[in-house]
Every structure is written in C-alpha cells, then in structure tokens.
C-alpha cells in the first residue's frame, strides 16, 4: 500500500468491534470527576454512568480537612476567630460574626451599635465578594471565562476596601467578640461606597446584558437539576439553593442578628428550583446586599466600635445561626468557664448541599454534572472544615 511516498505492508485485516476493545463488557462505567478538576476543587465525585446517564454519584471528600473544630479548643476566646474565619476564604466575615455573637451570648456582653453596623457592612461585602465568584464559576464551567474575569474586577474593589480597614485583602480577622477590631475610618467608608458604585453602575448593567437571560446559558441550565420545595427541605439543603426551590428561609429576616432588623431588604426566592433559578438567586442577592450596604453606611452611628471582652467566660452554651453567603451557618459553642472554647460545632451549609448531590444527580446526563455541581455553590473549605 503506497501513501504519500511511504509504503506500508498490511499483515492481516480484522474487523474490530467495541466488544474486543473491552468497551461494552461492562455496561456501567465508573468515572472519577476530580480530584483536580477545574470546577470541582479539591474533591472527587465518583460517577457511575450507563451510556450517557448518571446512575449513581458518591462524593469523596476530606482533601482539605484541617479539623478547625479541634484547633479552636486550643485557642483563647479572641484568638479562635483565626480558625473560625478559615472555614472558607471567600466569605470569612459571616463566620466571624456568628462565632462572635455566640461568644457574646455566653459572656452576656452587649456590643455597641456602631460595631453591629460595621459587622453588617462587612458581612454583606463578604456576601457580594463570594457571590461574584459563584456567578463567575457557574458560567465558567460551561466554557466561558469572561464572566469570571468581569466578576473578579468588581471583587477587587471590595478587597481594596477590606485592605483599607484591616491591612489584609482576604483573611482579615476584623470581627472579634466584643465588636470589630479596627476603627471604620472615613477612608474605608469611601472605598466601600466606591466599590458599591462600581458594582451597581458598571458591573451590574454590563453583566446583565451579557450573561443574564442569555439564550445559550438558559439552554444548558433551565430545567436541569430540578429540586422541588418538599425535596429541598427533606434533603436539608441550605442557602441560595434552598431559596431557589421556593422556601423562604433567610436567617437575616427570620432571626435578625447584628443590625439586620434596621434595614429594608427582600428575601430572594424562586419557584423553579433548577440550576438557572439558583444562578438568578445569587444574581439578585448581590443587588439586595448592595442596598443593605448603602443603608448601613448612611445610618452609621457614632460612638465606640469595641468593648472589653472578658478573658474567662462563665460556663454556658449557645447555638447561633447566621446567614452566610452559602446558607445558614450554625455555631454551637460550649464554655466550661475557661479561657477558650470547650467545644465548637460548626454547621456547614455546603456540607448539607453536598449530600443532596446523590439525590439530585440521579438520572441526569453526564454533561449536566458540572452545571449542577457549580449551581449548588459549595465551598470545599466549608465542606471539610
């Protein structure tokens, strides 16, 4: 056989079928989705597929386990925030607020009003920062990385504001039991207003035009991974995925903490319960958070921002929930009268959403696995703690 100047000798010709290659012997294949998948982060999904249809999914987690609940037991009451905020780097303020409120409840310490307002500003800033990554990575798993870049530009402005306050962009350690650690200066407020201005005037209109109501995006996400209202409660889902299924659950509204009782905002809910609804919940919550920040900056009271926190706390316990970016984050804090926590149990919303995956992904197409995964908006630091 002559081809392009080379000559080949064909020894024997044989028909090759799929069975000879070992493809069809096993009907159900196991795929490893992760550990280092761009959309998955440090975790693995074991996916069993029959043709193109997912039969069973089993998450394999624990790759970023730091055992924060144990580390906290070796710290003092104030030092413990360093471990608590590392539950997730994206929204570290929410966890610090929750822990601080729990410690203050045991100590019986009342926080000045200014500290409450600054906590709200920071917690909402953290929520925006985290939701922006959530939006960007949702579009990112479908292969368009522009959204992520745009989101990161808007995120940088908020990180600038956090840097002005505390000197750090991400792990700020800025909220402690007894108030906030750094004085909210005029410069910080100015930077925060600048960031919200950029978000509302530049980012939101531009992003809305390109990535919201986008027909290609809707083709991939509408009607995919539907969770009904009853199912969402039964599976114990939390945060934006729970609200996207039509359950009106928001700790900020239900059990107002810090200064959330003073502000007007609405709880974003959707009734569809599919991936696109979860994406829209994130999108609308960013806008609500921006409104809360504006209200809080307008009404920022004068006075102290931190009160003295005792070294030793009386024995007692508290269970405090905060609405973190990913859902209700619970802190069960126990004190035995010592200088540090006796036990801290963190109720992680991502952990609850993760274990809903095996139910949601039953019978979906393989191509929908990353879309559903990223729409559940989980953080791996939060799953493993």
């Amino acid at each position: 056989m002559n081809q392009m100047g080379y000559s080949f000798t064909i020894e024997s010709r044989k028909e090759v079928s799929g069975e000879d290659l070992g493809l069809l012997k096993e009907k159900i294949l196991q795929l490893n989705w992760g550990v280092q998948h761009p959309a998955s982060g440090p975790m693995r999904l074991k996916v069993w597929i029959d043709g193109d249809v997912v039969v069973k999914v089993d998450p394999d987690i624990g790759y970023v386990l730091r055992l924060l609940e144990k580390l906290v037991e070796y710290r003092t009451w104030i030092n413990a925030i360093v471990n608590v905020e590392r539950a997730c780097f994206m929204d570290d303020f929410g966890t610090m607020v929750g822990y601080s409120i729990a410690a203050e409840k045991i100590a019986g310490v009342e926080v000045p009003k200014k500290a409450d307002y600054v906590r709200v500003i920071l917690a909402e800033g953290g929520r925006i920062v985290s939701h922006l990554i959530g939006l960007g990575s949702f579009v990112g798993v479908m292969g368009v990385h522009t959204a992520m870049q745009w989101a990161l530009i808007a995120r940088e402005k908020f990180l600038d504001a956090f840097e002005t306050l505390s000197g750090q962009r991400i792990a700020t350690s800025s909220i402690v039991p007894g108030g906030v650690r750094y004085e909210p200066t005029g410069k910080f407020v100015e930077k925060m207003v600048e960031a919200v201005d950029f978000l509302e005037k530049e980012f939101i209109p531009r992003y809305e035009e390109a990535f919201i109501d986008n027909p290609t995006l809707k083709l991939r996400s509408v009607g995919v991974g539907v969770v009904t209202k009853e199912k969402a409660v039964e599976l114990g889902m939390a945060g934006p995925p729970l609200r996207a299924s039509g359950v009106e659950s928001d700790i900020r509204k239900d059990y107002p903490y810090a200064a959330y009782g003073d502000f007007k905002f609405k709880v974003v809910t959707k009734s569809e319960g599919d991936c696109y609804a979860r994406y829209l919940v994130l999108w609308e919550e960013i806008q609500e958070s921006a409104k809360i920040i504006r209200q809080a900056i307008e009404g920022l009271p004068e006075g102290d921002y931190r009160v003295k926190f005792p070294v030793k706390l009386p024995p007692g316990e508290a269970y405090v929930n905060v609405e973190w970016a990913r859902g209700a984050f619970g802190f069960h804090l126990v004190s035995d009268g010592g200088t540090g926590p006796y036990r801290l149990r963190m109720r992680a919303p991502s952990f609850c959403n993760l274990w809903a995956i095996p139910e949601i992904m039953k019978g979906v197409k393989l191509a929908d696995v990353p879309v559903i995964f990223s729409s559940l908006y989980m953080c791996h630091g939060d799953i493993d703690r």
Partner: protein, 155 residues
C-alpha cells in the same frame, strides 16, 4: 408554638423541656424515646434538620452529649433534642430513617467521636484518611502530639 411542643413533650413523653434561647427549646430525651420523639417533632413541622452536635464531657466526669438541632421553617422556631450517653455504652438508634439528611451528619459524628449510630446504613470514614479510622480526633482524650509527624529540622 414552642409552648405547645413543650406541653406535648412533658405530657406525652414525660420528658423535661426548658428554654435554651429565644426561639429555641431544649428537650432532654432518653435513648429509647428518641425515635418516637423525632417522628412527633417532624409531624409538628420541625422538618428541617440543622446538624448533630456531639460534646465530649468525659474530663468533667460525665459522658457524651448528642444534640440534634431541628428547625421549623414556617414558624421560625428551633428545637434542640439532647441525649446523654455514658462512656461505657456509646450506642444510639439512628434517626436517618426519619430525617435522611442526618445520615452524613451521623457518619461524621461516628468518625470523629466514635458514637455508634445503630441502624445507620453507612458508617465509613468520610473526612479522615482511611488509616485514621478509630482515632476519634475530636474526643478530649485524643493526643494530637502523638500523631504529629516529626518536622525535618528537629529529628
């Protein structure tokens, strides 16, 4: 809402209930009545499972405490169901058939504390590596220095 639950718990189950916090009720339950109580709470609308929190009180001379935290999403109230276990017998019936979402939480408590949830379909290591099964790192008796890898400089 919580007053009604308190009445039911005290009259039907003959258990003690006290206020834990605003909007939170603490029920002290026994091992035998746990499953029936969970079923009753679920039918009363406390159908959203939050978490299971285990506290190790062995250095204080007590055993372990298992706290089940449930929320009513309509009336926005919470319930903490507390079961005390002695150190010699760490077994408790599973509630994963009543609340399927509690199954991974029970699994985590099992690997971190060694509480045996009788009837849980899947008690395997989840967060810990496989060689660490049975170390129960969140117990107070766990000595982390014993399991620390020696650093390169100090041998």
């Amino acid at each position: 809402m919580l007053e009604e639950i308190r009445k039911i718990v005290e009259e039907e189950f003959e258990l003690q209930a006290e206020s834990f916090d605003t909007n939170v009720l603490l029920i002290r339950c026994s091992r035998g009545k746990l499953k029936k109580l969970m079923n009753t709470l679920k039918s009363q609308g406390f159908n959203y499972p939050h978490t299971i929190s285990v506290v190790d009180y062995t250095p204080k001379g007590k055993g372990f405490e298992v706290n089940y935290i449930l929320e009513n999403l309509v009336f926005k109230k919470m319930v903490v169901v507390r079961v005390e276990l002695s150190e010699d017998d760490l077994s408790i019936p599973t509630v994963s058939d009543v609340f399927p979402a509690f199954q991974p939480h029970e699994r985590e408590c099992w690997e971190m504390f060694g509480i045996n949830f009788v009837g849980n379909p899947r008690l395997e290591v989840m967060l810990l590596p496989e060689w660490a099964e049975g170390l129960f790192p969140l117990r107070k008796s766990y000595d982390f220095k014993k399991h620390r890898k020696p650093s390169k400089e100090k041998k």
